[in-house]
């Protein structure tokens, strides 16, 4: 009986250990994924930071001088996958400023682009648009490209709200 109790108790302890190990493994795997993402974000030469208003963001260079593609990719989360969407989002701090294909950022420098409106065309500055969609509501992230290497740098996701009807009217 004592033997049974001991073995029963051992089995119980073993089960608890197995479950704890499994839970630990899950947490550690989840942690590893998060850590990998975090490591990737932290090891990227440039950090993208979302600002309070959805679509507003800042880009900071935390390594040596770098040239980034002026065009900024936009991705929408759809059925668990990040999907590229059409957008004219660009690293422009002021509308109408002279523009090349790449933007140089000195070490430690930050650029705060004109916020993205959620539109596919004329999304920051005046533009000639005929077809033009709004992507909200959606989970969105921005994608920078390093000029030359083509390395992609992914920003943190944010929630773009649905298109809100402006009050302007005529």
């Amino acid at each position: 009986m004592a033997e049974f109790r001991r073995s029963s108790s051992l089995r119980l302890q073993w089960r608890i250990l197995v479950r704890a190990a499994a839970i630990g493994l899950i947490f550690s795997v989840g942690g590893a994924v998060k850590a990998q993402q975090s490591d990737a974000a932290e090891s990227a030469p440039v950090a993208i930071r979302n600002l309070a208003r959805p679509g507003a963001f800042a880009v900071t260079n935390r390594a040596a001088e770098i040239a980034l593609s002026r065009h900024v990719g936009v991705q929408r989360l759809y059925q668990g996958q990040w999907v590229d969407v059409t957008s004219d989002l660009a690293l422009v701090a002021v509308c109408g400023a002279p523009a090349g294909d790449c933007v140089s950022l000195r070490p430690g420098a930050t650029i705060t682009p004109v916020p993205w409106s959620g539109l596919s065309c004329g999304s920051q500055c005046p533009a000639s648009c005929r077809a033009n969609v709004h992507y909200g509501p959606a989970r969105i992230r921005f994608v920078l490209s390093v000029c030359g290497s083509g390395q992609k740098i992914y920003g943190p996701p944010f929630e773009l709200p649905a298109y809100s009807r402006p009050r302007s009217a005529r």
Binding site: R76, Y78, Q79, Q81, V83, V85, T86, V94, C95, G96, A97, L119, S120, C121, G122, C125, P126, A127, S128, C129, R130, A131, N132, V133, H134, A138, Y163, R165, P166, S168, A169, R170
Partner: protein, 279 residues
Amino acid sequence: MVVSIRPNSARITITQRPTVNPPVVNGTVMSFTGRAVTANGEVTLNGAAGDSAAGWTVGFLQAQWIETNWCYYRGRLNSHGSIFLQRARPPARPAQACRDTVTPVGGIFYDTTPGTAEMSQGAAGPAFPLRLTVSHFDQPSDSMNLVEQNATTGQPNFLAEAQLEFFFCTVLTVQDPAGGFHHQASFYWNQRWQATFHPTSFAVATPAFNIRVLQAGTGVGVSHIIRGTPTDKRFTGVLTSAQTQSCNQVVGAMMAAIGPGSVNRHEAAVWRNFDVRRA
């Protein structure tokens, strides 16, 4: 039983009429914007248990069939000259009609981005009748430089007047698994801007203007919903045929084709009155 489109099941509901805003200065350009047009659409497919709706797609197409787009510039003095930019005629814009798409024009539908509300696709083994719903959104805009350099006089010329008109037809359609299109319903809509601009500052980098909206050339129009296949020959040829450029690309090429030396650019050494019907 084979899958088919339920007769008279197509519906379009305009959920927001477009508007136009008065033009405003934004940096170095005059910006013409307005409120979006939005619409919902639905079509029902008939079928029997075991039928597949895979390969059936309901979605919106859009064609632009009129573009008016000109702007007039004047120097500070009569001797500084004037410029007329005719942006909507050949060769800058080879044709009036174009298929208006967000995604590449070869995709036919207005927007083919995965997950877009502009398209809805059937799947295998659905319950029939299958009601497929879609939503449409468009918010056109345009802009033009506040200042153009007159090569004839060597002087800056300032925006004095502009007229923009964009006329569209939006079509609710069904594509069958063989690729054929079955247009169900459509509506016409347009946005129009016309204004004169009177400089209050001739600072070339940061000019300022009194902006006067011309009522007769400003406004919007939205038609009733028209059932059946569009028959308007001004744009039916571009709805689903092979096209090399979307309207956005046509406009992009148009903007690149009005620089110095272009036949769409008319310069004069004085304040000339250009005839917009001929220039």
